[in-house]
């Protein structure tokens, strides 16, 4: 059969012939076709199987509302896309697509057994069964249900394409480039406004693309369209975005637009993004999103070959494809007549127009007569025939929803249905604009907007070309004075389910085609007490398929309304939820994939660590060297070596990631007193102090060494992960509670590279490199800070220790970090200088009982719990968190306190996170009294050590506790958490 492509019709009839493959079979198409139009041109209607009953389905629409013709689009590994609408898939030479949700093939699908037993699967059937035996649900029933469910195939390979995103701003965004949208854009852009026009189709023009015969302002529609687009293109202030769907309308005129860039291109450039998300902030939004035709609900309305009348018109006038040779038309609206006439004029036999309405306009009847088309009014298609394609229909007369004549049969190879029009109010509804119900069109239209938005044309319920153009132009700030040849749009009637001559319980009249929801299902839901449309939707799944109910919602709501015998407004309308059409995850991801998903912050010394084989760990947004294995060492061996080298010689550590905040101003000390538990007033310039910060709830939030550089200047350090929230909290209190304080906060985390030198040789190593700072213990004692130079570069040198050894932290401007590091490594060769990472840092500090905020504390630990009451300025009247420490439950006994643990077996290194019980031999559930927070092998002590928080732990010093592990219960004794050099003598090596 070759007769379906009509020469002289459509916009692509003369276009280049290209080839494509569907389900393994090669076909011919034209450049400009969609997969659906090309298959129809080959006489193929059967394109898919339905979700639940696996019924054979043909294409129903011609756009993004399509419910049936979903295919898998295969562009090779990593480029397989399931559930693509054949109606929106643009054809290119060599395109490969497959049908889905069938086995073994589209024409013969075993899954269709569901259809045979469909009486067992009404809406909500799964609520009523599959409960026995209990264990069968997840073992047997559910896996089977899952296999049968789902539509397209699951992906198997990572997507190889990339996606882009961009923010845009405009004065006017026009959503939809049909006649109303184009008129709006023309008017809005005339004054120099920045205008963006987006349309989901590859060609702008909307309904004009399928009404070539119309005259606008004296010009044929296509000419007018062409010239209008030329004008828009010529304006610098206009951006036209075809293939761009406005997917969602968010707060304050912020909208997401997804532009498809490559899916239609034969030669794929892998460097080009597949899709781009435009994040648009618009001054005003003009919604010109059109309307969608509604199917009629009658027995057998899902047979392949049954489709929307408007779709047939698009296929004919845009693609030059006749949807059949012998077409019947079933309608409740005038609009179908124009389609029938266009088909007839193109040489297609129109078998009959079956109109449910009692009277039809004389003008239309006259036109029909002229073409020798029979029109039967007050008539109904009461069932259809054919298996994989419609072969005929049974028609009867009806009265008051009842069949009153014996059905007559006529043959046809296609049945068009036209049930009226549904304004596309989705975007308006996303924006929380309110809708009002219009009985005369049986649909909701926009009422009060919630954003600066205006709806024009069919989406506003303004049908008819002239009215739509005018409304668009006025919304764009122009005057609507169009003249067109379009006849009045016409009228229709919306219908609920139509009668059949068969036993109604044996037939299926579909409302939601993809999800296989029938009129009976909706009535069943009502019968079972589901009254709100949201209930009906969830019980039957109507409107929840991938078309989001674009063709089904209003039929469903009207059927429900009738069944409940309540007006539609009372039944309610389902909420439209973004996106307008299914949107690639990739488009929402945009550039933020792979390296660009999230920053990996690296210190200026990171490169050296990488080159020297460091193993890294992520710490908040940073990566830090965890240890530096040598010659195949594992972590344990490397850490043992690093620890020993540091305790015996000198270790070098990159501490640059510590947060740093410079606090400057005459009230700096006063502010510090309020933010930290410690007293700061008496701290002399040039000295440091360990600072402890609480949240207002009294729990430890952060800590760090803080140096006073001058009376009015503090150099604060924070934990690596805590820097942003510490600065934020400080700013919050300063600006909100104590704005009268003269003090300013500046983040200097990245200004300084920080190198820690720890070990008995640290001073000897450092001394020759430093200028302007006397390093002797007398002039530079522990917990002091000096400014000077190192190797000619300014430095802030701290004498501090997080290891218990003689220690220095050298701050230099960040860009000098790596070179200083390398200079120190070189200078330290004679002292056996050893780089170490975070793991060794953790062991060394644990040997000294220093806490790590976030590991030994967890947001529920007070200073007293951590054994750090010494850090609280006793004479201070107030600081953040002070009052909370005085609450009843915080002062009560039974709180978990930080202690040390020594296992009875010194070789056992406890697991961090292991929980502790007071007595051995308990049965589950046990009474836990705490857990291990830190646990390491201590090379210095040649045994394991651990820290733990234990209920009233300090009072239990010396007592045994138990750590039940899956295979064995360990025993340990509670001790001081300072395991090594308890008197702190090692700080004083000379």
């Amino acid at each position: 059969m070759t007769g379906f492509r009509k020469t002289g019709c459509g916009r692509i009839a003369e276009a280049q012939v290209i080839h494509f493959t569907f389900d393994g079979k090669k076909y011919e198409g034209r450049k400009g076709d969609t997969l659906a139009s090309a298959l129809l041109a080959n006489g193929v209607h059967l394109m898919g199987r339905s979700f639940k009953y696996h019924r054979p389905r043909g294409v129903m629409g011609a756009g993004s509302e399509e419910a049936n013709a979903l295919v898998t689009f295969d562009r090779g590994p990593g480029r397989v896309t399931p559930n693509v609408r054949a109606t929106t898939l643009e054809l290119f030479d060599g395109l490969v697509a497959r049908s889905q949700n069938n086995w073994p093939n589209l024409k013969f699908d075993f899954g269709a057994i569901n259809d045979v037993f469909s009486m067992m699967f009404p809406a909500g059937f799964y609520n009523k069964t599959f409960m026995w035996p209990k264990s069968f649900w997840d073992k047997v029933y559910e896996p089977v249900i899952r296999k049968l469910a789902g539509l397209g195939p699951a992906p198997t390979a990572a997507d190889v394409d990339h996606y882009a995103n961009i923010y845009r701003h405009c004065d006017v965004l026009v959503a939809g480039a049909g006649p109303a949208g184009i008129a709006a854009a023309l008017a809005a852009s005339e004054t120099g406004n920045r205008v963006i026009v987006a349309d989901e189709q590859n060609e702008l023009g909307g309904s004009l693309l399928c009404t070539p015969g119309t005259i606008i302002d004296g010009q044929p529609a296509w000419q007018w369209l062409k010239e209008s687009i030329e004008i828009l293109k010529s304006r610098q202030n206009v951006t036209l975005l075809p293939r761009t769907t406005v997917i969602g309308y968010y707060h304050d005129n912020y909208l997401g637009l997804v532009e498809r860039l490559t899916d239609h291109e034969k030669n794929l450039n892998p460097d080009k993004p597949r899709e781009r998300m435009h994040r648009v902030r618009a001054g005003k939004v003009i919604l010109a999103t059109g309307s969608i035709e509604r199917p009629l609900v009658f027995a057998g309305n899902d047979r392949p070959g049954v489709m929307l009348a408007s779709a047939a018109q698009i296929y004919l006038n845009r693609y030059g494809v006749a949807v059949g040779n012998n077409v019947a038309v079933f309608t409740s609206h005038d609009s179908a007549y124009e389609v029938a006439f266009d088909l007839s004029d193109a040489g297609v036999n129109v078998a009959s127009i079956i109109d449910v309405r009692p009277t039809v306009s004389e003008v239309l009847l006259e036109q029909a007569r002229k073409r020798a088309i029979t029109v039967q009014s007050r008539a109904v298609v009461c069932r259809t025939q054919g298996r994989l394609k419609i072969t005929g229909v049974h028609i009867a007369q009806m009265q008051d929803q009842n069949i009153i004549t014996r059905p007559t049969h006529i043959a046809c190879d296609c049945l068009l249905m036209a049930g009226g029009w549904t304004p596309s109010v989705h975007l308006f509804s996303h924006s929380k604009g309110s809708l009002k119900w219009h009985d005369d069109i049986g649909a909701s239209v926009p009422d009060l907007p919630n954003e600066n938005a205006v709806s024009v044309g069919a989406c506003n319920g303004t049908f008819g070309l002239t009215a739509g153009l005018d409304e668009g132009a006025i919304a764009g700030g122009g005057q609507g004075k169009f003249s067109t040849s379009a006849t009045e749009f016409g009228r229709g009637q919306t219908w609920q389910a139509l009668p059949t001559d068969r036993d109604p319980s044996k037939i299926k009249a579909f409302v939601d085609f993809q999800n296989d929801v029938t009129e009976k299902d909706i009535n069943l839901a009502i019968r079972e007490g589901f009254k709100s449309i949201e209930h009906v939707k969830r019980y039957t799944t109507t409107g929840m398929a991938t078309d989001q109910g674009k063709t089904s919602n209003l039929n469903a709501v009207q059927i429900a309304s009738k069944a409940i015998q309540a007006p539609v407004q009372q039944v309610g309308l389902t909420t439209f939820r973004p996106p307008y059409t299914p949107t690639s995850f990739g488009a929402l991801v945009g550039y933020r994939a792979g390296d660009m998903f999230e920053v990996t912050r690296k210190t200026s010394i990171d490169g050296w660590a990488e080159e020297n084989g460091a193993v890294f760990e992520p710490v908040s947004l940073w990566r830090r060297a965890r240890y530096f294995p040598q010659g195949g060492e594992d972590m344990h061996a490397a850490v043992t070596r690093e620890c020993e080298a540091t305790r015996k010689g000198v270790g070098i550590f990159d501490a640059s990631t510590l947060g740093k905040i410079e606090i400057v101003g005459p009230d700096a000390a006063k502010f510090m007193n309020l933010m930290y538990t410690n007293p700061w007033t008496m701290l002399a310039a040039g000295r440091c102090r360990y600072g402890l910060m609480l949240g207002e709830d009294g729990y430890i939030m952060d800590d760090g060494v803080i140096g006073r550089l001058a009376d009015d200047r503090f150099h604060v350090t924070t934990t690596t992960g805590g820097a942003p929230r510490v600065l934020r909290m400080m700013e919050d209190y300063l600006q909100t509670e104590w704005p009268e304080l003269d003090v300013w906060l500046t983040s200097t985390t990245e200004q300084w590279a920080v190198i820690a030198l720890n070990g008995p040789h640290a001073r000897k190593l450092l001394e020759p490199l430093v200028d302007g700072i006397e390093l002797s213990p007398e002039s530079f004692p522990h917990m002091a800070v000096r400014e000077g130079t190192i190797l000619g570069v300014e430095t802030r040198l701290f004498r501090v220790s997080f290891s218990g050894e003689l220690g220095f932290e050298i701050n230099v401007p960040a860009h000098y970090g790596r070179d200083l590091w390398e200079a120190l490594i070189k200078a330290g060769e004679g002292y056996g200088i050893t780089p170490y990472g975070t793991e060794t840092m953790h062991v060394l500090r644990a040997e000294k009982g220093f806490i790590i905020v976030g590991q030994d504390t967890d947001g529920t630990i007070t200073p007293d719990d951590a054994g750090m009451s010494w850090a609280i300025g006793k004479k201070k009247l107030d600081f953040v968190g002070k009052r909370s420490l005085d609450r009843a439950d915080i002062k009560a006994s039974g709180r978990k306190q930080l202690v040390g643990l020594l296992t009875d077996d010194p070789d056992i290194v406890l697991e961090e996170g292991a929980h502790i019980v007071a007595t051995s031999g308990q049965s589950v559930p046990m009474t836990m009294i705490g857990h291990v927070t830190s646990s390491y092998w201590s090379a210095a002590l040649n045994r394991s050590i651990a820290m733990a928080v234990i209920k009233d732990g300090r009072a239990l010093t010396g007592k045994s506790i138990y750590i039940p592990m899956p295979k064995k219960t360990h025993e340990a004794k509670i001790c001081s958490a300072v395991f090594y050099d308890p008197k702190g003598e090692r700080l004083n090596v000379v």
């Binding site: 961009i166 293109k233 860039l261 920053v599 490169g607 003269d742 500046t746």
Partner: protein, 203 residues
């Protein structure tokens, strides 16, 4: 004591290792990493602004979002009491002396952040669009004219944007975020180097 043989001056490495500088259509176009500059965060009370300006001879814009650019010195007003001064490295000593004078007379905070930030120069017809890939501000010339500056965000990264010319921007970002930001710029340049779709004006 300092031994003479160790008296070497350290090498300054921006520590930001980027892909080769991205070039644009002409030689001057594209994204370039700006050489090291000095940067100071200046904080003082807004009511002292005129006096500080007089004393320092540094042009301190009054309004948030306004910059002054004189020769090699840029001052960006970022907050009601916050200015960022960016200047050539050679100005360091002179500026430090100035700041000492200011500090002795006014309640203020001067903090050296030279190494905290990395500067990018972004030039060419795509400059605005490139920044808009991740920055949500309206950067069109009528809303964001030459001289306009602000702290803002690129995706989730803090940046400072200054418009220096119709198609020229200066972007500052914290040092460790610079390679991350440059990934986006790189990808964008790749995207626009392939043929563009047919659209309206303003290419």
């Amino acid at each position: 004591m300092l031994s003479e043989k160790n008296r070497t001056i350290l090498f300054m490495d921006q520590g930001v290792h980027l892909a080769p500088i991205m070039s644009g259509e002409t030689e001057a176009d594209g994204v370039t990493l700006i050489n090291v500059q000095v940067r100071y965060s200046l904080r003082f009370k807004p009511e002292d602004r005129v006096a500080v300006q007089k004393l320092s001879k540094i042009d301190l814009p009054e309004k948030i979002g306004v910059s002054s650019i004189k020769n090699d010195k840029m001052v960006l007003c970022l907050g009601p009491d916050e200015w960022l001064l960016i200047a050539d490295l050679s100005r360091k000593e002179e500026l430090q002396q100035t700041f000492e004078r200011i500090s002795s007379k006014f309640v203020c905070s001067v903090v050296d952040v030279s190494h905290r930030n990395t500067g990018f120069s972004i030039r060419g017809p795509y400059a605005e669009t490139m920044i808009n890939t991740g920055c949500p501000l309206d950067l069109s010339i009528r809303v964001f004219p030459i001289g306009r500056c602000t702290r803002t965000v690129y995706e989730s990264t803090e940046i400072i944007v200054l418009r220096k010319g119709e198609a020229e921007f200066h972007v500052e970002v914290w040092r460790s975020f610079a390679p991350y930001l440059s990934h986006f710029f790189e990808k964008f340049m790749m995207d626009v180097s392939v043929p563009q779709r047919e659209t309206g004006g303003g290419k």
